[in-house]
Symmetry: C2
Subunit: 207 residues, 2 copies
């Protein structure tokens, strides 16, 4: 009895994970607002009632999809960057891993944060707030890593950390957007080159 419940729960969890992974992919192409339970049921080959057992409402599904994308971003970009032994090293890794996850087409529509953030930016509600929070979380991480690099003496203390984070993120954003539109890695290379130039200016005569 206990085993059956466990097995069922485990099957349910696995299936929920697979559904949300598909949902996150779809959201970067058709929008997270285009993500109805019916549309997703078609995509994963399940019945609508089967999906309703997992997600009570479209909003629940959307919020769970955002959380799934957030977890994947941590796994692919944020956590592996922590191996850097200096803050400047971690900053370079964050940026490189961001660009790599775009170029590797983890999502068909590029960075999930950018795609869903652009879609919902001018709307309102809890789904929009969660999506916007992802981008704010990224900015805070970049700013705090820059400040650590300043404290370690590797980035010029005269740099405004928030301004520098803005400029670096601007390159990543356009690199992502152009790559999605053109499927040409030249856009990723331009972003890399821009980051290197800007970091060279910020670290000149430093570590």
């Amino acid at each position: 009895m206990v085993e059956t419940t466990r097995k069922r729960r485990s099957d349910g969890e696995k299936s929920r994970k697979a559904i949300l992974s598909e949902a996150a992919q779809l959201a970067t192409v058709e929008g997270i607002n285009g993500l109805s339970i019916g549309r997703l049921a078609d995509a994963v080959g399940m019945s609508k009632s089967g999906l309703f057992a997992h997600f009570g409402s479209k909003e629940d599904l959307q919020l769970a999809t955002i959380e799934t994308a957030r977890a994947l971003f941590h796994e692919l970009v944020i956590e592996p960057a922590l191996v850097g032994t200096t803050a400047l090293g971690r900053l370079r890794l964050l940026i490189e891993l961001f660009l790599r996850h775009v170029e590797d087409k983890v999502y068909p529509g590029g960075c999930f944060y950018v795609s869903v953030g652009a879609e919902l930016g001018a709307q309102s509600g809890p789904v929009r707030d969660q999506a916007v929070a992802l981008s704010a979380e990224w900015m805070r991480l970049v700013v705090s890593t820059i400040r650590e690099a300043q404290a370690e003496g590797h980035i010029d203390a005269a740099e405004d950390a928030e301004q520098l984070a803005f400029e670096l993120t601007g390159y990543l954003l356009l690199g992502n957007t152009q790559f999605v539109a053109t499927q040409d890695s030249a856009a990723i290379e331009r972003a890399r080159h821009a980051v290197e130039g800007r970091l060279a200016a910020a670290t000149r005569d430093f570590g």
Copy 2:
């Protein structure tokens, strides 16, 4: 008889223009794919059949909406920038007028090109191609203006014009995106500051 026809055509044109202006506004919030004839009929207070008289299909409506946004962008940003007497002056004007049209909330969802480009980037079809073409047109204009400024001796000839255009546009893109999400002009100021810093580096010891 001729007058009646003329009058009718003129009323039709006026109404078509008003409808498309509303459509462009809506597209930056709900997406150009969310722009059904039924949804737009509600927004402008017309019957669906009345709207069908103007636009035979959703795709016709979408393409006409993109053309309307393109014309407005020319009127507000591109044409007024032509008053600059040097290419560097025109470049600064293009950038400032872009930021101003975002800050002035010409569209509730920020720059139309950015909003609709992000929505359709990973899709396919003629509407997507037209939307992506708008952004490519902007990049070409910025690149050619930078090259003219290099020819006039005001921007360092050693700068890669395409790379510089990419970096400047990256600041504008993030300034737009953050402004839409936060409604805080600090994002526009960061973009201005980034542009000034980058142009200072590109024009150092020059005009």
